[in-house]
C-alpha cells in the first residue's frame, strides 16, 4: 500500500519537498515515526495532521491512496 504525504509551510522546507509517498505504513502514528526517521528536525515543530482533508488527532489506520497533510499553525490573512 502507498499513501501520499503533503508537507506545508515551514515543513516543506524541513522535508525539502511538498509531497512524498510512503509505502506500507499502518497508521498515522506509524507514519509519524517514519517521517521522523527521514527528517529528524521535524521534531522541533508543532503541526496538526489531516487525513483526506479532515483534521484529526486520532491514530487512524491508513489505506492505499490516503492523503495525509502535515500542517504547522495557520498564518493566513
Amino acid at each position: 500500500m502507498e499513501v501520499k504525504v503533503l508537507f506545508f509551510g515551514v515543513l516543506s522546507e524541513v522535508a525539502g519537498t511538498g509531497v512524498k509517498h510512503y509505502r506500507d505504513v499502518k497508521s498515522v502514528a506509524d507514519l509519524k515515526i517514519r517521517i521522523n526517521d527521514d527528517f529528524p528536525e521535524i521534531a522541533h515543530y508543532n503541526f496538526r495532521v489531516s487525513v483526506n482533508s479532515e483534521i484529526t488527532d486520532k491514530d487512524l489506520v491508513l489505506k492505499t491512496g490516503d492523503e495525509i497533510a502535515l500542517m504547522p499553525p495557520f498564518a493566513g490573512g
Partner: protein, 141 residues
C-alpha cells in the same frame, strides 16, 4: 460571477471593483462591509519585508471557507452574501492578500459579521506565509 476562495497573486483593484459592481444587484442589502488585508513591510532585526509568499492546502481551504460561511450565516441572519478571497503565491508589501466582502440588510450586521469572519479565517484557513526580505532571505510565519 464564479469566485474561488484562492487566487494566484494579489487581490487586484479590478476584482474588488467587480465585487462592488456585483453587490449593486443585491437590492435587499443596506450595507456592505469590505475587509482588505494588506501585506505590511515589517522590519525584523533591521531587515524589511518586501513580500509574502503564501501557500495553502486548497482542498481544506475550500472546506473550511464553506464552514466559515455557514457559521456566519447562522449567527447573523441579516447577512445576504459572503465572499472570501485569499492570495497564494507572492504578494508584495502594499498589495492586498485577503478580501472579505459581506453584504447585509443593515450596516451593523455587515460590520459585525465581517469582524467575526476575519477572525475565523485567521484561525481556521490552512494558509501559510513566508516573509521575504529585501535581501531575499526569508522567515516562515
Amino acid at each position: 460571477m464564479e469566485i474561488k476562495y484562492l487566487i494566484e497573486g494579489p487581490v487586484s483593484q479590478k476584482l474588488i471593483l467587480k465585487l462592488i459592481e456585483k453587490a449593486g444587484s443585491k437590492t435587499d442589502s443596506g450595507g456592505h462591509s469590505i475587509f482588505l488585508g494588506q501585506v505590511r513591510a515589517d522590519e525584523i532585526k533591521g531587515k524589511k519585508v518586501k513580500a509574502i509568499e503564501y501557500s495553502a492546502y486548497e482542498e481544506l481551504v475550500n472546506a473550511e471557507a464553506e464552514k466559515i460561511k455557514t457559521i456566519i450565516l447562522s449567527e447573523f441572519n441579516d447577512v445576504k452574501s459572503i465572499d472570501i478571497i485569499h492570495s497564494t503565491g507572492v504578494v508584495r508589501a502594499g498589495e492586498i492578500s485577503l478580501l472579505v466582502f459581506i453584504s447585509a440588510g443593515h450596516r451593523y450586521h455587515a460590520m459585525q459579521a465581517s469582524s467575526k469572519a476575519v477572525e475565523l479565517i485567521k484561525e481556521n484557513l490552512p494558509v501559510w506565509k513566508k516573509e521575504i526580505f529585501e535581501d531575499d532571505s526569508h522567515v516562515w510565519k
